[in-house]
């Protein structure tokens, strides 16, 4: 998104995004109505109409930003019942070059051959261009409120796109953020104070204020939206000046797709079996992270006894690459967790030396045997 579209204020070293809120809903509704009114008309006509301004008071910067976002959300379609423009261009321009006639005559000849009228042929010639495509039907469930949230997400991501380094504190659901960050080649470290703070940046950020990781950093935001409580601080570069952006839970940002509760069917079945077989144990999916050297590890489950307070962590080491398993085991060894049940797929062929010394190990073939896990816990006392 071009920097000129970002509706922000800068105070000292801080950048404050101007999010859309309930006060913007009236003019947002007008924008949506205008789009709906131009259904089946060329996008160019809608753009011209919107350039004239809205019939109600609206902040110019926010309107520009909204139209930019809506331009990507609102579908367009090619006019039906006409030959493909690419084919028409091929025929018309070749005919014009061949005949060396007045353009109008060449056009008439092609129109006659294709049994079209000249006006329709002229209109169809570039019907596939963005401005000539027809305005489509309103996207489902896009009302003023939903549009405001999507515009806000685009604004926040537009700022994070210009970020060099991000710090995140979150109460829950951090695992997904860390996983996403690593998937994008970012380095995640943890600073443990009262609440663990994730520090996320790219390897090359050590050398200069590079924006090469902006896209990756911006992609973390929809995942953060699902954390019940989070605080994000990003070092951004705006107008070639360093600025700090702060976002937190409660900011009106559209969250991404709801995360899957389980990473695999093995985990899903294990949680179901434990809940059925041992109702006295509470099953917590993705409990709090554990420090392992400079990084964090995220056990799959915590089992908490409802009455005697015992607490065990369960990690399922399933069907992953050898490098992943080696990294995971190294992390678990570094964490030195005492009450840990490690469920290892038999196909992994992990040697006893590689396994964390304090862990109870349950090997499994296809599904994790919940009874075996409970037995391991009872033996552990």
């Amino acid at each position: 998104m071009p920097e000129a579209l970002l509706t922000v204020s800068c105070y000292g070293g801080m950048v404050v995004p101007h999010f859309l809120g309930a006060q913007d809903h009236p003019w947002l509704r007008t924008v949506l109505d205008e789009h709906a009114r131009f259904r089946s008309r060329p996008r160019r006509e809608l753009d011209e109409r919107l350039r004239e301004g809205l019939p109600c008071a609206a902040p110019a910067g926010k309107v520009r930003l909204t139209l930019h976002v809506l331009g990507r959300l609102w579908p367009t379609e090619r006019p039906r019942d006409l030959p493909p423009p690419r084919l028409l261009r091929s025929v018309v321009f070749s005919e014009a070059a061949r005949s060396r006639d007045e353009p109008q005559r060449a056009l008439e000849r092609v129109a006659e051959r294709l049994q079209l009228n000249v006006t329709a042929l002229r209109a169809a010639l570039f019907a596939d261009l963005a401005g000539e495509r027809l305005v489509g039907e309103s996207p489902r469930s896009l009302d003023a409120g939903a549009l405001a949230l999507r515009v806000n997400l685009a604004l926040a991501q537009g700022l994070l796109f210009r970020a060099v380094h991000v710090r995140v504190t979150a109460s829950d659901g951090v695992r997904r953020v860390v996983r996403l960050a690593k998937l994008h080649g970012l380095i995640c470290t943890v600073d443990r104070r009262e609440e663990p703070e994730l520090s996320i940046s790219g390897p090359y950020a050590l050398f200069r204020r590079t924006l090469v990781y902006g896209r990756a950093l911006a992609s973390l935001l929809p995942a953060l939206g699902w954390c019940p409580r989070f605080r994000l601080e990003a070092d951004c570069v705006l107008g070639q000046q360093p600025r700090v952006l702060r976002l937190q839970s409660g900011d009106p940002i559209f969250p991404g797709d709801e995360p899957r509760r389980f990473d695999s069917r093995v985990e899903e079945r294990f949680a179901r079996d434990i809940a059925r077989l041992a109702p006295e144990w509470n099953v917590l999916r993705e409990p709090e992270a554990m420090p392992a050297g400079a990084s964090l590890i995220f056990p799959d489950f915590a089992l908490e006894h409802r009455y005697d307070g015992r607490r065990w962590l369960v990690e399922i080491l399933g069907f992953w690459s050898p490098e992943y398993v080696a990294r995971k085991l190294a992390g678990l060894r570094a964490a030195g967790i005492a009450n840990l049940v490690l469920c290892v797929a038999e196909g992994r062929n992990c040697s006893e030396d590689a396994l964390p010394p304090l862990a109870r190990v349950v090997r499994f073939r296809r599904w994790v045997d919940a009874v075996a896990v409970l037995r391991a816990i009872e033996e552990g006392g």
Partner: protein, 475 residues
Amino acid sequence: MPMPTREDCWSAHCSGPAVRLVFDRGTILLLEPPNGVDVAAFPGALWDARVRAHRAPAFRAEALRAWLARHGIPFADELRSAPAPPAAWTSPELRPYQDAALCAWELAGRRGVIVLPTGSGKTRIALAAMARTRAPTLCLVPTRALLGQWERAIGDAYAGPIGCFGDGRRELGPITVATFESAYRWMGRLGNRFDLLVVDEVHHFGCNLRDEALEMSIAGARLGLTATPSSDPAAVARLEQLVGPVVYELAIGDLAGRFLSDFDVVTLRLELTPRERATYDRDMTRFAPVYAAFRRRVPPAAGADFARFARRTAAGRQALEAGRRVQRLLALTEAKREVVGVLIRRHAGARVLVFTADNASAYAIAREHLVMPLTCDIAGREREGALGRFRDGELHALVSARVLNEGLDVPEADVAVVVGGSLGRREHVQRVGRLLRPRNGKRALVYELVTARTLEVRWAAHRRAGLGARSATDG
């Protein structure tokens, strides 16, 4: 200069504990330095507390190896991921100046920029460099349109598989072509797979925009190609660091007549209609004072700086809008519309390229005079088809705003009509270069359409200066 192999480094330097050089997403990690060895003394290496190791930028790989060797520090070079060796090359035949350029690059330690005019065969020099080094090579090109062109050119001289990053493709090969944008996004993963970087239109680098694409690669051999090198001293210095210095340079005048065709520039001064003049004068009254005030404050600033300056005040924003309207008006005036039609008909027997300032003007000309447009909206296959038909003579004119500006191998043309430009001197040199493919007895013709008593007169004079002291005829 032979590339050092991992085994060389082991045998040359490793008999005990050694610093491990490991590629990590566009950087080099210096791991497990033996006791008493201070790797922080290497210029460019920084302590990275995130991973508790020293780190250096990937493009410093050669300097780092040399520094370690010079200081007698044993090291294990684990930077390269074992690349498949390139297959057989057929070295292309070179013209004398092409051979001289390649020789200059080799003498400069296989690092440097070659500056040659458009149409003089820079791609051929790059192919000869690849054939001579026989190294895994990554060719960087500015646009998606150029990917296929480079693939075809390489395919003519190289028998092995060719990889491609860009335009929705992610295929890795010993010889790979990538767009600047894809290289910027993927160099963290590709940076240790190539020993030679070929950068087409290298003047796009050096201004901190996507420079990471070059910084995150360990390739020691680097060849930059351009027709229009940057004149900004900061960009020149940066490019020298990332690719190397200019090692060979020839201008159009050096090759025109023998290896490039000669040409004439005809400037047609056109008038605005009374209505256009009134609009122009009204908008200039809003624009000119604000722009003059800005120039007095920041004389060497760029257009983007003016936009930032103007956006701060209501008068500035109005001036900005007025300035944009002036640009749109001058891009295609009534007189220009008419003259373009006349010129296309007058040169009906020749191959004509029409250059406009923006896509809207290109489409307007396409609609009015039925000239095939080549813009970023026209898909690659259709664009290639149109170029093919232009080559075969089925189309005699093409109109474009930017797509034909640089890089794309445009078939031979005789006449150019410059209706407008937005990128100044560099763009103009590239456009004129499109006509200079030599042919017996050929003398190319460039028409410049300039609107009298407007800003365009100054713009035209500025861009024409890029051609050097060529003959100019006012019509």
